[in-house]
C-alpha cells in the first residue's frame, strides 16, 4: 500500500492535504517540500499518485512532473496549485499531469480528482 505522495512547499498545505486524504481513506506514501524531494521520493516509494504544487523553491512542480514522467511514464500526477493561468495549466498537462486543481479548493474537488486519476 504505497499510497499518495504529497508535494507542497508549505507545511500548512501538506497538513491540510494529508488531513483531507486520510479522512477519505487514502494512505500517505510521503511528503515532499520541493520538486527535488518529490523526484527522490517518487523513486524510493513508487506511490500510486502524486499531488504536485507548482510554486516551490529549488525545483518547481512542472519541471518535477517532467522528471518523474521520465522515471515512470505511467506516473499518476495531479497538480494542486494557485497558479490557475491558462498557459501554466497547459504546460502542466503537457508535462504529464492528469488533472489540475486550483487553490483555493473544496476538499471534495481534491478527493474527486484523486479518485478519478487512480481509476483511469
Amino acid at each position: 500500500m504505497p499510497g499518495i505522495l504529497i508535494t507542497d512547499d508549505t507545511a500548512f498545505m501538506r497538513m491540510t492535504l494529508k488531513n483531507i486524504l486520510t479522512k477519505n481513506g487514502f494512505d500517505i506514501a510521503g511528503e515532499a517540500a520541493d520538486g527535488n524531494e518529490a523526484i527522490e521520493m517518487y523513486k524510493s516509494t513508487r506511490p500510486d499518485l502524486v499531488t504536485m504544487d507548482i510554486t516551490m523553491p529549488n525545483l518547481d512542480g512542472i519541471t518535477a512532473i517532467k522528471e518523474i514522467m521520465k522515471v515512470d511514464p505511467s506516473a499518476r500526477i495531479i497538480v494542486c496549485s494557485a497558479m490557475g493561468q491558462k498557459a501554466l495549466v497547459i504546460d502542466a498537462l503537457n508535462a504529464g499531469a492528469r488533472d489540475f486543481v486550483v487553490k483555493p479548493f473544496q476538499p471534495d474537488r481534491i478527493v474527486d480528482a484523486v479518485k478519478k486519476a487512480l481509476t483511469a
Binding site: 500548512f12 498545505m13 510554486t55 516551490m56 523553491p57 494557485a82 497558479m83 493561468q85 491558462k86 483555493p104
Partner: protein, 208 residues
C-alpha cells in the same frame, strides 16, 4: 530621471489593480468560508522610497508581511500586509481552528494564504494581458511595517528613487479582517504592459 505617469497610465494601472484585487479577494473569501469582503478602491501613486512606508497606515505598527517576486513575461513585486490580529484570524479560519498562533505552522498558513491571494491577483493580470506570470515562493515576516517594506525595497534592489505603487485594500464585514495588497511593477515592466494593452495586441482573450 523619469517618474512621470500619464493620466491614461494611472487609469490602466488602476484597472489592473481592480481586476487583481477582485480576483484575489474572491480567493480569500473562499478560504474564509465565503465571508463577504469589501474592497477599497485601488490607489496608484508614484512615491519615493522613503515615503513608501507612510502609504500603509502607521509604519511603526507590527504586521505580517508576505513578499512575492514575480517573473515571466514581466517582472513585478507583490506585497501583502496583514495586521497581526487579521493574520491570526485568517490562520484560525483556514486551519478550521487547529492553528491559532503565529508559530511555525501559523506562519506557514499565512505564507500559503499569501501564495493563494497574490496568485489570484496575478492570475487575473495574466488573463487580462495574455502574459505568463510566474511567482517565486513567498517569503514571510512579522515585524514593523517600515522594517518589512525597507527589506523588500532592498530585495527589489530599488535602483530607482521612485516606485510605482498600486495599492489595494480589503476588509471583512463581520470578523474585522483587513489588509493591503500592493503591486510594484519593475521599471521596464510598466512600459511593456502599457504597450500591450493600449495597442490592443492581446491574442489571448478577455479577463479570466
Amino acid at each position: 530621471m523619469n517618474c512621470y505617469l500619464s493620466e491614461s497610465g494611472v487609469d490602466l494601472l488602476r484597472e489592473i489593480g481592480n481586476i487583481g484585487i477582485g480576483n484575489a479577494v474572491s480567493s480569500l473569501s473562499q478560504l474564509l468560508n465565503d465571508q463577504r469582503i469589501n474592497i477599497r478602491m485601488p490607489e496608484v501613486t508614484v512615491v519615493s522610497l522613503g515615503e513608501l512606508p507612510d502609504q500603509m497606515e502607521s509604519p511603526e505598527k507590527v504586521v505580517a508581511g508576505i513578499y512575492v517576486e514575480v517573473g515571466g513575461s514581466i517582472d513585478l513585486h507583490m506585497i501583502f500586509l496583514l495586521p497581526l490580529e487579521s493574520a491570526r484570524s485568517i490562520t484560525a479560519s483556514v486551519s478550521g481552528g487547529l492553528v491559532r498562533e503565529l508559530d511555525e505552522m501559523g506562519l506557514s498558513a499565512v505564507m500559503e494564504v499569501g501564495n493563494i491571494v497574490t496568485a489570484g491577483y496575478i492570475n487575473a493580470f495574466a488573463g487580462l494581458t495574455g502574459f505568463k506570470l510566474i511567482p517565486k515562493p513567498p517569503a514571510v515576516a512579522v515585524d514593523l511595517t517600515e522594517a518589512i517594506l525597507g527589506s523588500i525595497l532592498a530585495e527589489v534592489q530599488a535602483a530607482e528613487d521612485f516606485v510605482i505603487l498600486i495599492k489595494t485594500g480589503f476588509e471583512t464585514g463581520e470578523s474585522d479582517i483587513e489588509g493591503f495588497l500592493c503591486m510594484i511593477p519593475a521599471r521596464d515592466s510598466f512600459e511593456i504592459v502599457y504597450k500591450k494593452l493600449l495597442e490592443g495586441a492581446s491574442d489571448e482573450s478577455g479577463a479570466g
